[in-house]
């Protein structure tokens, strides 16, 4: 897929977004199908093996987006930034709710998490390697881990990541740079 193809694709989604804001149900469905898979993978990678399941947080995210969609102003890139910003907030709310009402780990929850991983990790050849990478990314500082996930998993640009995290683009570049450095150091240390 060339850059021109990506540009045409994004222009089409711009028009789809405008119609969805006006109330077109079919266009909103198209947006959901385009964005939901990566959103769920991002949430899974962020909270991987954790509570609550990524699909629950994703559902909460989309509900919030639907309620505030008529007030949204911007293009498709702004919409993606906004979507992940809402997702981050919902993740924080879920973590706080879990801290207030801790519940014992149950096998059923573990089965749910693995089931969601099965759904999401289609096509990954080495699941163990994936799990290892995700674990190491989660061990990084929160801001670095989040910036890296948004850049790699959510496929956001530096500017879109900056809007989602409410930081400057240079700050995002620094966070990703440090995250990669720390990852190399961790893997290098663990590899020894």
């Amino acid at each position: 897929m060339t850059d021109r193809d990506v540009e045409i694709y994004r222009d089409g989604l711009d028009a789809t977004l405008k119609l969805a804001i006006k109330g077109d149900e079919a266009c909103f469905g198209e947006l959901w199908r385009a964005l939901n898979p990566r959103l769920e993978r991002f949430l899974y990678a962020q909270g991987a093996m954790g509570d609550p399941p990524a699909s629950d947080v994703a559902s909460e995210t989309w509900l919030q987006v639907v309620r505030d969609l008529p007030k949204f102003k911007g293009d498709y890139a702004d919409f993606r930034s906004w979507l992940y910003q809402v997702a981050r907030n919902r993740m924080i709310d879920a973590a706080r709710a879990k801290a207030r009402r801790p519940k014992a780990s149950v096998d059923i929850d573990e089965m749910d998490r693995w089931a969601s991983l099965e759904d999401l990790a289609v096509g990954v050849a080495n699941r163990a390697q994936l799990d290892g990478i995700i674990d190491k990314i989660r061990d990084l500082p929160a801001a670095q881990s989040e910036a890296l996930m948004l850049r790699i998993v959510a496929d956001l640009s530096v500017e879109e990541t900056a809007k989602a995290m409410k930081k400057t683009p240079n700050a995002i570049r620094v966070l990703v740079h440090r995250a990669l450095a720390n990852l190399r150091e961790e893997i290098g240390v663990s590899g020894q």
Binding site: G23, E25, F28, G29, W32, R33, N36, P37, R38, R41, A45, S59, W62, L63, V66, R67, L69, P70, D119, L120, A121, V122, G123, V124, A125, N126, Q129, L130, I133, I134, I137, L148, R151, I152, V153, A154, D155, S157, V158, N170, R173, V174, V176, H177, R178, L180, L183, R184, I187
Partner: protein
């Protein structure tokens, strides 16, 4: 002091990182082999799935809510304009009188107790006068066509007790004592005050001043005298009572007796 050195070290590290920022491009990130499994995981094709029904229902409900809010907002705005804005503008005299009249009529129809001052609804016209009085004041007399506008020669015993409306002045003209010919008159001044001259029993005229009042062609004025010559609003011709030498009192229907009346009287007397 240790805090100072700590902050300085962090600041220097940050500046160093910023110098390397330009080296960290999207291509570098894409080439990073450490993240290949993660990249593969992110790009894997998703299982085709339909949008949840509950989410679609929430989407439609949200759109309906927004449309309802817009209707409420426009309705409230329209109500505000109708009840507060337009009457306020009419009260201040900003709206044209025709629009103010329409606003008042609408309020009357819907039984709203809002009254717009008449100054805002009335068209421009001389104040304090009826149309008839306005004519008298201005000197126009449309109700009394005068066949012969030129005054006839008055007899020695007569003075034209009236003047043509165009000649009316502010002063009351004295009239001679001619019981058969004296005509209770009313002269109106330019200020609109009419002066009635009434012949008394001994022939002297007494004048009384009264304010202008509506007068009709056929009705007598309040100052109708007991002696008057007969005149008619249509002039000499027409159905009118025959003037009598004895000076039978008849009411003078004409608000503006004309000189031809006196001429007719003089003619009849000479006959």
């Amino acid at each position: 002091m240790s805090g100072f050195w700590h902050r300085l070290r962090n600041e220097l590290a940050l500046r160093s990182a910023y110098r390397n920022v330009n080296n960290l491009t999207g291509d570098d990130l894409a080439k990073e082999q450490l993240l290949a499994p993660l990249r593969q995981f992110a790009a894997a094709p998703a299982n085709p799935s339909a949008i949840p029904v509950g989410l679609l229902q929430e989407f439609n409900a949200s759109q309906r809510r927004i449309k309802g809010h817009k209707k409420f907002r426009y309705g409230a705005g329209g109500l505000f304009a109708a009840i507060i804005l337009f009457p306020g503008l009419a009260w201040a005299g900003v709206l044209p009188p025709s629009v103010a009249r329409v606003v008042q009529q609408v309020f009357n129809v819907v039984s709203l107790p809002i009254h717009i001052p008449s100054a805002a609804t009335d068209s421009a016209k001389p104040s304090g006068q009826t149309p008839n009085q306005a004519q008298l004041t201005s000197g126009g007399s449309s109700s009394t066509p005068v066949p012969d506008a030129t005054p006839s020669e008055p007899s020695a015993n007569q003075l034209s007790s009236t003047t043509t409306p165009a000649e009316s002045t502010g002063a009351t003209e004295p009239e001679s004592n001619t019981h058969s010919t004296l005509t209770p008159t009313q002269t109106t001044t330019k200020s609109g005050v009419s002066t009635a001259s009434q012949p008394s029993d001994d022939g002297e005229l007494s004048t009384s001043t009264k304010s202008p009042e509506p007068m009709s062609e056929n009705g007598g004025t309040a100052a109708s005298s007991t002696e008057s010559s007969t005149t008619s609003s249509e002039g000499v011709t027409g159905s009118e009572p025959t003037p009598t030498p004895t000076g039978t009192a008849t009411t003078d229907p004409s608000p503006t007796p004309t000189p031809t009346d006196t001429a007719a009287i003089a003619t009849s007397e000479s006959e």
